[in-house]
């Protein structure tokens, strides 16, 4: 797959044989691939920012650049955490949502609406709400992790299994509570549970960006160790990786980034599955120095492209997360079926 020449129109030109070979060789380079992707993101960003401005450009730019930043934060948090999660678990059809992150977020919000009512929920101070949600989600994952991985037991699979069970429990509990909600409260809650990237709160956006940058700052020095982890725990330990410590640090960074971005825009983890798997086949290298930025940029292309289609072509006919969940579902099915066929 890596050496496949890109099917561009240049290949169809007569007497373009040499040119094509050169193009094909350079296309195999991860650098070139990442560059092309980066350029695409820049173009999409420019289109999103500067076209179809209804009134004052500076006003539109102010709002839109915030949306772009929110997209970047989400694409980074979701892309990086999913790829890292795949490497830790040695499984590429999982997302961190298997640990019940999304479900837990929905549960927290449902409990809040249940006890405070929709008026109370909407009246909450955004900052406090965000802090509570992030705090509770991180605390949950730390607990789960230290209980099932930090101790003598240290089994990733057991941790995942407990995560799945807890996630199912959260979902069931949420549903039960939602059934008892007043229809109006329920409406407010379901609206809040669709991931929305437009018009994020400025303070929250900055705080989330800070946490995501922090998470990345922890992960970047570990890039080469992450590469070794792709060989699996036994081989990584044999090569001198302090597996337990490294996985602990990685897992914590992943949970912080996920918690922050979920609290900012809502549950959107499914999206990570598409992005990460596209990144593996696109990046042209298994090394995390390439797959991680590729995943982030592919995430940006999906979010920007999706938003453009939704906003400019369909005239805002729905929320982006609906589109993402639909596309993500189909893609997931494709992945599972393809794996099965092998």
């Amino acid at each position: 797959m890596l050496t496949d020449p890109v099917p561009t129109e240049s290949g169809a030109l007569p007497a373009a044989g040499l040119h094509r070979t050169r193009l094909a060789t350079s296309w195999a380079e991860p650098r070139v691939r990442l560059g092309v992707l980066g350029a695409t993101v820049l173009v999409l960003t420019a289109v999103f920012l500067f076209t179809a401005v209804p009134g004052s450009l500076s006003f539109a730019l102010g709002i839109r650049s915030r949306t772009v930043l929110a997209m970047l934060v989400v694409a980074t948090a979701v892309g990086v955490s999913t790829v890292v999660f795949h490497t830790i678990t040695q499984n590429r059809i999982l997302t961190p949502s298997i640990m019940g992150f999304d479900a837990f977020y929905v549960l927290i919000s449902t409990v809040l609406v249940f006890f405070a009512g929709s008026a109370g929920f909407l009246g909450f101070d955004q900052l406090t709400l965000w802090l509570v949600q992030v705090g509770v989600m991180v605390a949950f994952s730390v607990l789960l992790f230290t209980w099932l991985f930090g101790g003598k037991r240290r089994s990733i699979h057991l941790m995942l299994l407990v995560g799945i069970v807890l996630g199912t429990f959260f979902r069931a509990f949420t549903e039960w509570m939602q059934r008892m909600l007043d229809p109006l409260d329920f409406q407010v809650l379901s609206d809040a549970m669709f991931a929305s990237l437009t018009r994020p709160d400025e303070t929250l956006l900055l705080l989330t960006s800070g946490l995501v940058v922090l998470g990345c700052a922890v992960i970047v020095p570990l890039l080469r160790i992450l590469d070794v982890l792709t060989l699996g725990e036994p081989a990584a330990v044999g090569l001198g990786v302090d597996h337990r410590r490294v996985v602990m640090v990685l897992f914590l960074s992943v949970s912080v980034m996920i918690a922050a971005s979920t609290a900012l825009v809502g549950p959107i983890l499914f999206f990570g599955l598409i992005v990460a798997n596209l990144a593996y086949s696109y990046a042209g290298s298994f090394r995390h120095a390439w797959t991680l930025p590729t995943a982030v940029l592919i995430g940006m292309v999906c979010l920007l492209g999706g938003q453009l289609v939704l906003e400019r072509l369909l005239g805002f006919g729905g929320t982006l997360s609906t589109v993402i969940d639909f596309a993500g579902g189909l893609f997931f099915l494709y992945l599972v079926l393809r794996k099965g066929a092998r």
């Binding site: 797959m1 890596l2 795949h86 040695q90 499984n91 590429r92 890039l223 080469r224 160790i225 590469d227 070794v228 792709t230 060989l231 699996g232 725990e233 036994p234 081989a235 330990v237 044999g238 090569l239 001198g240 990786v241 302090d242 593996y280 298994f286």
Partner: protein, 252 residues
């Protein structure tokens, strides 16, 4: 030398390695044999710090496995486990590069590259260096993993059943290679084997385990006796001399 002192490992209530004290890893090839469930792989896991012993001490050239930093040990001891499934698509060259990780932490020097080239050449993998691991046959893949271990440039090399699922030709190929690694490169190889005839042909010393205990430990020729083998495997074994070499017959 790799020294185990009263090492015990339990899984739940079951004792898999039972108060084992042994020193191995002398020059040449040491074969570790024994029936399934004898504790061979667990012993390797303990020495390779994948498992923590419930009791006892393990040291590699005087370095306590429990307290020595992992990367320090990785420069002296290389372990190749049984199942080496890699989810990502790696080429042979990528894999062998990993062998240098304990030395370079991922930033390869000229010296590292020499080691990688030498390991690839030694395992006769030049033609396959850019092939992906999932495009190789079982024998080639096993060679690629051994090349990684060789690039690690350690004094001790522990191989856990490297002959798993290999046919006759690849099996002898790998064993001859292990022999050469010991004779030419001075590696001290410890290898878990199932076929006692293979062990007797290629190993200098054989350590036999059963029920978590070392039941025999001697030069290859001395282990190849009907009474010893029958006791190790709990099944009748006949030993005949063919062309001056002891051959165990346990079929039929």
């Amino acid at each position: 030398m790799i020294a185990l002192e009263n090492v015990t490992k339990r899984y739940g209530g079951q004792t898999v390695v039972d108060d084992v004290s042994i020193t191995f890893g002398g020059e040449g090839v040491t074969a570790l044999i024994g029936p399934n469930g004898a504790g061979k792989s667990t012993l390797f896991g303990l020495v390779g710090r994948l498992l923590q012993p419930d009791a006892g001490r393990i040291a590699v050239d005087g370095m306590a496995v429990a307290t020595t930093p992992s990367h320090e040990l990785a420069r002296n001891l290389a372990v190749l486990r049984q199942d080496n499934h890699v989810a990502a698509r790696l080429t042979v060259h990528d894999l062998v590069e990993f062998g240098r990780f304990p030395h370079s932490r991922g930033r390869l020097t000229v010296h590292d590259r020499e080691h990688i080239e030498r390991a690839i050449g030694y395992l006769d993998l030049d033609a396959y260096r850019d092939r992906f691991l999932d495009e190789l046959s079982g024998g080639q893949r096993q060679r690629a993993f051994i090349a990684m271990v060789l690039a690690q440039d350690t004094k001790y090399v522990l191989l856990d059943e490297p002959l798993n699922n290999l046919d006759l030709r690849h099996m002898t190929e790998i064993m001859r290679l292990i022999r050469r690694m010991a004779d030419e490169l001075g590696k001290r190889v410890v290898v878990v084997l199932h076929d006692i005839n293979v062990a007797a042909t290629y190993a200098d010393r054989i350590v036999a385990m059963r029920d978590g205990v070392v039941v025999a430990d001697a030069a290859a020729r001395e282990i190849m006796r009907p009474d010893v083998l029958a006791a190790v495997y709990d099944t009748p074994v006949d030993v005949r001399e063919i062309d001056g070499r002891p051959v165990a017959l346990y079929y039929g």
